[in-house]
Amino acid sequence: MTSLELDILLPAFVAGLLILATHIPLGMRVLQRGVIFADLAIAQIAGLGVIITALLELNHMPLLVQTIAASSALCGAALLSWIERIAPEVKEAYIGLTFVLAASLGILLMNHDVHAGEHLKDLLVGQILWVSNAQLIGTTILSAAILLAWRTLRNSKNHFAFYGLFALAVTASVQLVGIYLVFASLIVPALATHKIQRWRMPLAYAVGSMGYMLGLLASVWFDLPAGAAIVWMMALVAILLNAIIHRQKSLT
């Protein structure tokens, strides 16, 4: 590994760790609640906010764009917690429907401002290798705030407490690493460890960070697109972990 390669991989790896920090506990809760596609719906609603800023020609103010993206995501969170309250038995269907409606509304709005479409694309397909130092600092502060809030609110019965934090975390992470990696970071470590009681949290973090590390290395060694390589490596590590656990169980 040359210093140049390290220089490219390190910021991307730090971005991965920052995302895992918030997404693993949130992912476990997502799995427990059975709202797997809530992240897609929230990201799409945040994207709608960005399209609207572009339509109002406010997109040259990045801070405002972010504020509007986050506020839209919070509105989405309010919608999802309302759905959870009024129709808990069919919430997954409503969440899927919310995703499709938000995505289609985006297409309808973009029909008149094509540049807005490019903005939405930017927002949803963040690429992990392009992370900047400014983004890393911003995400560190946000992740710390979300984790702090999570400690105090994790046992709250209020649906919005969960969905609101989830919305803020996802809005930031999608822009940093893209929707596939966000989905994988939420679901893979949580799913890989969902039968484990002891040391579940450390094992989940290990699966996630191994996935990021091996994926980035594969991107260097085998000349592969980084994001896709990380998703696959994380899944392989998860399978390996389960194989080991399974073997240990059959031995004892």
Binding site: L4, E5, I8, A12, V114, H115, E118, L129
Partner: protein, 298 residues
Amino acid sequence: MQKIFLISLLLLLSNPAQAALNVFACEPEWAALTQELAGDKANLYTATGPLQDPHRIEARPSLIAKARRANLVVCTGAELEVAWLPVVLRESGNNTVLPGGAGYFEAASFVKMLEVPTRLDRGDGDVHAQGNPHIQTDPRNFLPIADALTKRLIQLDATNSNEYQQRLAGFNTKWRAAIARWEQQATPLKGMPVLVQHQGFPYLSDWLMLKEIATLEPKPGMEPSAAHLSQILNTLQKQPAKMVLRAAYQDARPSEWIAQRAHLNIVELPYTVGGSDKAKNLYALFDDTITKLLAGLR
């Protein structure tokens, strides 16, 4: 003077039936060229916006409706619009504008194409069998295209043949003088090593003799590998460049990433008419392009 202009504008607006030809331009640069060559004889519609990737737009009913009424379709060709134009033309039911018909004009068939692959492999990403389609970044290409387009306009609308010929002669003189002026202004750029975000500038580089040393995203729409980026940083250590070029419609992040790391200037080129605030017509497009490139030297 202003009054005359306003009155003629009013006349133009109140009497659109005067326009002899409905022209459907795929990209803004061809709309602008048709405007130069046909003036008020053409009723123009542009299918893609300046900040839109002409590779990927969606075929909408409004596009089909415009193609149905078109007498002439002016596009780049060379597979640039392959994702949507064939569908639009087929659905339009307008036989005259189908490829091969008198109403179908492909600009790329009149210029010398660059980057024509010797071997075709779709695995290489967005490759174009007929060469790189981004021909509008070299102003010299507009001369043979203007010539061919005028012939086509005359073929379709012979009654105004004199006016088309006069306009072409005027355009040729003015455009040649402008090219000479741009080349003069661009002399400091000769041989300058540059980085490009995607393979969109071979014609510009060929014209101004820029030296492209690396492409950030060799496969458009595909995330590059870490190996590729480290190779670029390696190349830059041996052969420092001054700037990284990208088209206005593209995501800013890749060029910002490399600019931060390798201390390069980012040059966002308008790429087509309307791609920047200043690039309001064909002349302004290249004025602004040269100004931005020269600013990248600093």
